[in-house]
């Protein structure tokens, strides 16, 4: 997996505030999710990658060249900034063609590419309306259009779906997945976990300016499985369920809920518990089962707590 984007011991600070602290990682083709709470350093990471900021220490290389100070990279890189900021008096088409002109395309090719990009984000029918009149979802999509209009190999997307309602969010998630499948390198930053999980498996967890965890989401979740889990189950016959569960080797504790329907089990090896729970669950009529330690959010919170 050739490295499209490379961070070598890169740090960045503003005054005394450390935004990115000694980060080393490489990102190749496909979609990579950049995950972290607000202020964790995601935006700084993307600004370093897109050469808008120079690293205070270390090196940031994009397509083999130092990201800062190499404007020619933007022939092959598309950036979708986070801010909801536009030249409001331009129409969607003027906005994209205007920026394509700064990418060196001539008149005809500009118009052609702009219309393709607008079609890609389902904005073709609104191409002649002023961006000032666009809805929040449409503004986010025209921003994507300018990022992918010049068919870049690399796409850096800063919170592309924040503040969007479900209809638009799903459309954007599908678009990112389609882009990832065409072999481009797509880096998507977000603080909404299930969106990133829907777009990709490859995740980079970032917190307080440091890389916390890296790799396939499931790998990270398996890493989770070595730790005790508490699992809550509601069953028609909780006693029968309890009898079956108690026999399992790694169960640490087992308690009954107040109303009697609920059973809470704590196990040292969650994999084992879930593995051979199926028969007991079926016979005892389990209708609800959840564990606070089970979703990506908990992975995140768990790793952040450290």
């Amino acid at each position: 997996m050739s490295a499209t984007l490379e961070f070598v011991r890169a740090s960045r600070w503003y005054g005394q505030v450390i935004a990115l602290n000694d980060v080393t990682t490489t990102i190749g083709p496909g979609v990579t999710g950049l995950l972290g709470p607000n202020g964790a350093g995601k935006s700084t990471f993307l600004k370093l990658a897109s050469g808008q900021l120079a690293p205070s220490q270390g090196e940031v290389k994009m397509l083999g060249r130092a990201a800062w100070g190499s404007p020619e990279l933007f022939h092959r890189v598309g950036v979708c900034p986070e801010a909801d900021a536009f030249w409001e008096q331009l129409t969607g088409l003027e906005f994209v063609t205007g920026l394509l002109r700064l990418t060196g395309y001539d008149e005809t090719e500009r118009r052609q590419r702009a219309e393709n990009a607008l079609h890609e984000v389902a904005l073709l029918d609104a191409k002649d309306r002023k961006i000032g009149g666009y809805s929040k979802g449409m503004r986010q999509r025209v921003k994507m259009a300018q990022a992918l209009a010049h068919d870049p190999e690399v796409l850096l997307l800063d919170e592309p779906v924040s503040g969007m309602d479900p209809v638009n969010r799903r459309r954007m998630v599908d678009l990112v997945r389609r882009l990832g499948r065409t072999g481009r390198t797509v880096v998507v930053s977000s603080h909404i976990l299930h969106e990133v999980e829907a777009m990709t498996r490859r995740v980079l967890l970032i917190h307080n300016g440091r890389i916390l965890a890296e790799g396939d989401v499931r790998e990270i979740r398996d890493l989770m499985d070595e730790h005790p889990h508490t699992v809550a189950l509601r069953a028609r016959d909780p006693r029968a369920l309890a009898r079956a569960v108690v026999a399992m080797p790694h169960v640490i504790s087992l308690t009954f809920g107040a109303e009697g329907e609920w059973v809470t089990v704590q196990t040292a090896r969650p994999d084992d518990l879930y593995g051979n729970l199926a028969e007991a669950a079926e016979s005892a009529g389990v209708s609800e089962m959840y564990s606070p330690d089970e979703n990506l959010e908990s992975v995140f919170r768990y790793l952040v707590a450290g």
């Binding site: 503003y14 900021l53 990279l73 092959r76 700064l102």
Partner: protein, 271 residues
């Protein structure tokens, strides 16, 4: 257009031209241009009033040519042009930063110098298309008073004045571009520069006027309107060659410094 070479940024001229068109679009059609047009048209209105009233109220203390000279020196050179330069030039980059739209330009394969060049070009075109017609209109409104006998003779004056107006817009434009790129809040310093530095220092004795642009601009123009009080005594006229040298120098240095600062500065547009 040459085919796109992904290994090198887009050449300077076409890139600047692209930024120029984008900037011009935003600059010309904004509400502020209407305000600026009004500011420049004021002397034309006064000229028209002067012509109409002249018939019934002939005892005027300024002849048409003197009034025109007064407009050029007192109104345009010392007030309207610097203010318009401050208005547009400080915002060339500041508007994009404040509006957070600079990112779109910084993430294009173009050198930052071409962004500044494109923006400054748009500034020059916008201000010239507003200022030059106003001066010409004022000129003809006044010069055609009483049969316009001396019109032919005065035309070279007009051409010279138009040249000085353009030079003033370039010079003040370069200075305020630098101010806009260098300071976070350039307006108050800019206003102090126009209404204190450029207003009072040119009338000082000795070498002091040489640190102002007004002294040079005023020396290039042949009009010598009667100024009140102390400034009458010390008004100096500097040699034309020196004035041109200094003004062109100010433009070059101002733009070069702005380009250098703009290229090396990082723009952190926090959320």
């Amino acid at each position: 257009m040459a085919t796109r070479d992904p290994e090198r940024p887009v050449p300077f001229a076409p890139a600047a031209r692209g930024v120029f068109d984008l900037a011009l679009e935003g600059m010309v059609w904004s509400g502020r241009t209407v305000v600026m047009a009004g500011l420049l048209a004021l002397p034309v209105v006064l000229a028209i009033v002067y012509r109409l009233v002249l018939a019934r109220y002939p005892m005027v203390r300024l002849s048409a040519i003197e009034l025109y000279g007064w407009f050029i020196v007192m109104y345009y050179l010392r007030f309207a042009l610097p203010l318009m330069a401050l208005f547009y030039a400080t915002a060339l980059i500041a508007d994009e930063v404040e509006g957070k739209t600079l990112t779109y330009l910084l993430t294009r394969p173009i050198r930052r110098e071409s962004i500044l060049a494109g923006k400054f070009g748009a500034y020059v075109v916008t201000t010239l298309t507003l200022a030059l017609p106003a001066v010409v209109l004022a000129f003809f409104t006044l010069m055609t008073v009483r049969g316009g006998a001396n019109l032919g003779g005065a035309v070279p004056d007009l051409l010279r004045d138009l040249g000085v107006v353009a030079l003033a817009l370039f010079a003040y434009g370069a200075v305020f571009t630098l101010l806009g790129v260098f300071l976070k809040r350039p307006v108050i310093p800019g206003l102090l520069f126009i209404f204190v530095w450029e207003l009072f220092l040119p009338s000082f004795p000795g070498y002091i006027p040489r640190v102002t642009l007004t002294a040079y601009l005023r020396s290039l123009v042949r009009h010598r309107p009667a100024q009140e009080g102390v400034s009458e005594i010390f008004a100096q006229v500097l040699p034309t060659a020196l004035c041109l040298e200094v003004l062109v120098g100010a433009v070059v240095v101002g733009l070069a410094a702005s380009a250098w600062i703009f290229s090396t500065r990082e723009y952190v547009m926090d959320q």
